[in-house]
């Protein structure tokens, strides 16, 4: 694993970092749109790990690319649905966050 940071794994490690940053934002923020942004950063991190780990000299591997494209479609669809629900929620309650558990 020596030289892992300098070599091909730099993308994968950046992905892990992004995932961690996104997770922090997701947990730390209460504003729903901020949490959605954080979710998208986490998603990008996971995608970067997927393509980053595949660059280890085994040649071009199309499978991670296919997975990432699928993943991006899923992330866009989820974000769209979340924004729709959020807009309805904002209009109905005037709040940008969720009420605490009772």
């Amino acid at each position: 694993m020596s030289g892992a940071l300098s070599g091909y794994l730099v993308f994968a490690w950046s992905g892990v970092l992004l995932f961690g940053l996104g997770l922090f934002g997701f947990v730390a923020h209460r504003h729903i749109v901020r949490r959605l942004l954080a979710f998208n950063i986490m998603g990008s991190g996971a995608f970067l790990v997927l393509v980053g780990l595949a660059q280890d000299g085994r040649g071009v591997d199309p499978v991670p690319h296919a997975m990432v494209i699928t993943g991006i479609v899923v992330a866009v669809a989820s974000t769209a649905l979340a924004l729709v629900v959020f807009r309805r929620w904002y209009r109905a309650s005037g709040r940008t966050d969720l009420p605490e558990d009772t």
Partner: protein, 486 residues
Amino acid sequence: MIGLWSLPLLFALPLALGILSLLAVPAWRPRLIFVGLPLMAAASLDMLAGLVISGPQVYRLGDWIAPLGINLVADGLAVGMILITTLVTGLCALYARVYLRDHPPSTSFFWPLLWFLWTGMNGIWLAEDIFNLYVGLEVMGLAAVGMVALRATPPALAAAMRYLLAALLGSLAYLLGVALLYGAYGTLSMAGLQEAAAANATTQVALALIIVGLLLKTALFPLHAWLPPAHGGALTPVSALLSALVIKASFYILLRIWLVLGPEVTPDFTAGLLGVLGAGAVFYGGWMAWRQHHLKQLVAYSTVAQIGYLFLFFPLVTNTGPEAARLAWDGTLMMLFSHALAKAALFLSAGNLILAVGSPQISHLIGISRFRPMSLFSFGLAGVSLMGLPPSGGFTGKWLLLHSALLSGQWWWLIVLFLGGLLSAAYIFKVFRMSFREGPQIDRSVTPPLTLDMIALLLAASAILIGLTAHVPLHWLRVGMVFGAV
């Protein structure tokens, strides 16, 4: 060849019907079930015929070879899940057709969402690689969130939002785990992972991410906070579908992945920890269910409790010897199937009771036994299975788990089984005590359509019947699994 033509149809068909019903005018959306349900039933039964005649089957979608192509596997467990999904979803659809008549036209979006939900679930039951499981989870999860939001009241929207955030977080943890596994082993198929995986740090981190993500989606205590508002606040047929089937999907994935990787890769305490969390769920969920004042919230917390039993599987199957492991497998699946039937019945009959008194409060049920004995009978019959009284499916499941626990020397899980049953009895009888009390509060009740009562009764009766004939489904569920040799 029997079985193979119906395999891709099982998710191509609901997908097509979903798109079709999205394009249809609202009045026509419910009517599509009269085309869709018979076709789905035929395809599911054909899968069963295929399993009985020629055993477990593998289908290559579009004849592409893995890893670029997609393999679908129909073994005993997958076929069992397909059949229970068809039964419960079909009955919930028939229920919804009557139930939604008195709701605003916007709720007709229930129908496309129902078909998409079905697509996602069947995709999960049949998937053989961990990435398709992810896609299935997302299709199913997004449809489920849409269904929770259908009511469009502020509490329903908040519940949907909370559910969506939990589901998204869970899927991303799962996806990162998948990315790490693919990076380490260059394969996504379960069989390939089983061969290649070693107990190193990468695999353990990946598996930990996958397990935590799936626990969040299964709402295992203490990650259950999103479940009661979502399941308790949704429209009645939606609650039934979510509690009976949707949470089982993430558990099913966990089960599959555990059998492939779990015992070899995870540290020894993992299985025990999952069991302890399950025990926590049984106690906490049962206690909270007993404390609820809203009928459907009570049923939703009962789901939190019942999920707990499923997780006793992990300590009972790991390093316990073949006989105890087989009993644990049988018992867990019996719990899973009977809970699917009983919880759907419980939610639907609770919905009927709420329709009858016009209030979700348990305290408003006073005297209802005189007016709605049928709804109450279905509620009780489903309750019998949840409490684990003979001869129900819940009893058979607990009995098998109990034997497995004794055989493997883990007697402490017996406490969970017994106390859990007592807690279930406490919250079921809480409803009954109200219903049989004579009070001044109501002297009349609205009569819901007979269909609604009949469907709830049918599901509750199936939950009892599956216990009486348990050996037949259990035999076929073992086909193609490691527990196959008896």
